[in-house]
């Protein structure tokens, strides 16, 4: 188990290194550069060169890359090229917003998906199940940006129950979180439902049922635990998906978190900020994959045994 974790971790670090190179060069290949955001259209070449020198953009690319890595590793990624604000401050500020939104979204995903999926399997083909399945089909079919447009028009513009946009407390976070969560909620709900069904059809459950164990107990104690395994395994996908969607959702709702900042930084070619944020996003994805793998190991005895055998 430990060996597995160490190997996965080493692996994650290699991944991040490769990603950092891709991100670093990818951003710089893009046409245009940050000086156009800082220097005026009338800016003379003198002014542009001046700015480039001050920002360290006149150094060779490889040198810039190593400076970037050194800065990230030492925990001081420097300042935004455009605003001069410290990137750590920006991440702290925007990070809290994104964290709030993301956690809210993930809570919605699991708090709805698991019980609904479970109950749908239990009441299979009953109206409740049909409702859940309809919701799942809808959740997976409606693109999140279209859902956002519809929800804004209905709840914010028409009914005025919720704010149209902007970061803030519960009310501000509700609509973006729902949009963020919808698809993953639907996917996980379906998965929970089908894996519960699978469990319920297994011999040990039948045996227990034959033994006269109450149905509720069978469902919640035995089937539930095993049915959860694939849902946990999927967390490695769910978390990055939810996180990735913040790029769209934060822009639509002007929810000024990390995704919003990243999109801004890229369009302004604010390399320092963009590459740090992009690497941060990738790191979170890699790390959540790692965690999901680890959790999967822990709760799934079959894999655990296989890992031990290997």
């Amino acid at each position: 188990m430990l060996r597995f974790l160490v190997r996965r971790l080493a692996y994650a670090i290699v991944l991040l290194l490769i990603a950092s190179v891709a991100i670093f060069y990818g951003l710089r290949v893009a046409p245009g550069d940050v000086t156009s955001a800082i220097v005026s259209v009338t800016g003379t070449q003198v002014l542009i060169d001046d700015v480039k020198e001050q920002l360290g953009l006149d150094k060779p690319l490889a040198t810039q890359y190593f400076i970037f890595i050194k800065n990230v590793v030492t925990g001081d990624p420097g300042s935004s090229l455009v605003s001069g604000a410290k990137i750590t401050d920006l991440i702290g500020d925007a990070g809290i917003k994104t964290l709030k939104l993301g956690v809210f979204g993930l809570i919605l995903v699991y708090a709805l998906a698991i019980p609904l999926g479970l109950m749908a399997a239990w009441w299979r083909n009953k109206p409740f199940d049909q409702g859940v399945r309809f919701l799942a089909v809808l959740g997976m079919g409606i693109p999140n940006f279209f859902l956002a447009v519809l929800l804004i028009q209905l709840f914010a513009v028409k009914l005025k129950w919720l704010p149209v946009a902007g970061p803030g407390g519960f009310k501000h976070t509700l609509l973006p979180a729902v949009v963020l969560a919808m698809e993953s909620m639907a996917v996980n709900m379906r998965l929970m439902r089908s894996s519960t069904l699978e469990e319920l059809s297994k011999d040990y459950i039948r045996t227990q049922r034959a033994k006269g164990l109450p149905g509720r107990r069978i469902l919640f104690v035995h089937a539930f635990r095993n049915a959860l395994v694939p849902v946990v395994a999927l967390a490695g996908v769910t978390i990055p998906v939810v996180l990735g969607y913040t790029l769209i959702v934060e822009v639509i709702f002007r929810y000024e978190g990390l995704g919003f900042q990243l999109v801004q930084a890229i369009t302004k070619r604010d390399y320092a900020l963009a590459q740090t944020l992009a690497l941060l996003f990738t790191a979170i994805v890699v790390f959540s994959n790692f965690l999901a793998d680890a959790a999967h190991q822990l709760i799934d005895p079959r894999i655990r045994d296989r890992a031990r055998a290997a």
Partner: protein
């Protein structure tokens, strides 16, 4: 947000910084940081008397020496005297600035320069603490800013927000038309960009903002019907134009008749009425009709007339070719327009609506809409001086509080070669920059508009209305046609 070097005038400028001379609602010049100014009889020496006892937010003194240093930075194109000032192009007539004592600034001119207050009244001549700017370096204006306005710098995140907080040490303003002569009423002001035009109306109606600028045209009638909101609307200090690169002889853009034909093929009125729902005015010259020296003579040019456009093109040798696109000597009259959505989400939409209008007269226009950061390098970056490496055409919407200055700027931008050799305009520019009196200045402005409308270094299309929507509880917020953004001294929110 650095008045010397920033490429745009942030709405926070008027909260953070102060003008030396400011325009009132009629466009007349009023004193702000100065008490008064005098012009010598030979019109070559301007003497400003500076208010006494002023300081910046940081506590640093704001005296004549500081203002003189600012002026010198603004007019410094090379970076040797506190610049480089990005708008040095507007200061060629000023040859020397001195501060003989703490309350006097003396500017010496090489020629009479009646337009001087016009230049001083733009956001790019607002006074900032240059010592602080040197201390902070390139992060000045982003990580810190030091001005003398009623609000001090709070925080700034490009594309996200600007926050300023009331400066309790503000001594009050000199500006005659501002009624609050003490510190500001508001505790703080926060600006956020709302990029989706349709979302702006939603946000002001939903109450997530107190004031919104330029909601989408289609929403304005609805907002006017909302009794909780006050809507103010007038043509902005802007113009949207298409620039045809006169170096591109391949498509005949050096030929003024081709430029005129293309201009006549554009149905400006239907753009203003349909695309902007009436919230824009067609422009036949380079400046909108609410400018104090607007020249109505421009309306003789550029009127929508597709038949005339066709005959002009025929006469210029561009005749109907295959696929409905005109040809001359085997070359198709087909070009790419580099567009942008830098400041308004609607800019490239105008271009898109123009495509079929040009197609109707046998001109093919393709669109290229690069990212914000790639637009200017494409338009004015390396290679702009050469037909082979520069663009066919570009479109842009300028926004500037001194429209004539801006024409001077765009006549030279992105490259003088782009705009052809237009002696009439050069003469008008010269007249403007050396005008001994207001009458000459006005004549220069009018001449420039006429020459522009006829020779079309850039084809004017329309000017959007600036529409300000404020909640009724927001008091003292009065946008005027002569300024980009209203002052915040008098603004308060009713409980």
């Amino acid at each position: 947000m650095d008045t010397v070097a920033s490429p745009w005038a942030d709405p926070a400028y008027v909260a953070l910084y102060e003008f030396t001379v400011v325009r009132d609602a009629e466009g007349a010049y009023q004193p702000a940081l100065v008490d008064s100014w005098e012009v010598s009889e030979d019109l070559l020496t301007w003497t400003f008397t500076i208010r006494e006892g002023l300081t910046f937010h940081s506590g640093a003194a704001l005296d004549a020496a500081v203002i003189a240093a600012n002026f010198n930075a603004f007019r410094d194109g090379t970076g040797d005297a506190g610049g480089p000032g990005q708008n040095a192009i507007f200061w060629p007539t000023v040859t020397d600035v001195q501060a003989p004592d703490a309350t006097t600034v003396v500017c010496t001119m090489s020629a009479p320069f009646t337009a001087f207050p016009e230049t001083l009244a733009t956001e790019f001549a607002m006074i900032e603490n240059l010592a602080k700017r040197t201390e902070v370096g390139t992060d000045y204006g982003a990580a810190a800013a030091d001005g003398s306005g009623p609000f001090q710098f709070g925080s700034y995140q490009p594309g996200t927000e600007v926050v300023v907080n009331r400066w309790d040490g503000y001594p009050g303003t000199n500006i005659p038309y501002v009624s609050n002569k003490g510190p500001a009423y508001l505790e703080s002001v926060r600006w956020v960009p709302i990029l989706e035009a349709g979302q702006r109306a939603n946000e002001i109606e939903g109450g997530t903002v107190n004031v919104v600028k330029n909601p989408a045209g289609q929403d304005i009638e609805r907002l006017k019907g909302n009794s909780d909101l006050v809507v103010t609307s007038f043509p902005s200090l802007a113009n949207y134009f298409i620039g045809l690169n006169a170096q591109q002889t391949r498509v005949g853009f050096e030929d003024v008749t081709v430029r005129q034909a293309i201009s006549m093929a554009i149905d400006r009125k239907s753009l203003a009425d349909s695309l902007f729902f009436g919230q824009a005015v067609p422009t036949y010259g380079p400046i909108a009709p609410n400018f104090k020296w607007y020249e109505p003579g421009v309306e003789a040019f550029n009127q929508f007339d597709p038949e005339k456009a066709k005959s002009l093109l025929d006469a210029a040798g561009w005749v109907e070719g295959s696929g409905g696109i005109r040809e001359k000597g085997g070359e198709k009259l087909s070009f790419t327009l580099t567009s942008n959505d830098l400041y308004q989400p609607t800019t490239s939409a105008i271009d898109q609506a123009i495509v079929p209008m040009l197609a109707d007269v046998g001109v093919e226009m393709k669109l290229d809409v690069p990212d914000a950061a790639a637009f200017f390098p494409k338009v004015a970056g390396a290679g702009a001086e050469d037909a082979a490496t520069s663009l066919d055409a570009w479109s842009f919407e300028w926004l500037w509080s001194s429209p004539v200055d801006l024409l001077i700027f765009f006549q030279a931008f992105p490259s003088v070669k782009w705009n052809g050799d237009l002696p009439e305009i050069a003469a008008a520019v010269k007249q403007w920059q050396t005008a001994p009196d207001l009458a000459t200045l006005e004549a220069a402005a009018r001449a420039m508009q006429l020459a522009w409308a006829e020779k079309l270094p850039e084809i004017p299309i329309l000017t959007r209305n600036d529409t300000w929507v404020a909640q009724t509880k927001v008091k003292g917020y009065t946008p005027v046609e002569t300024m980009l953004y209203p002052l915040y001294n008098d603004v308060w929110i009713e409980a």
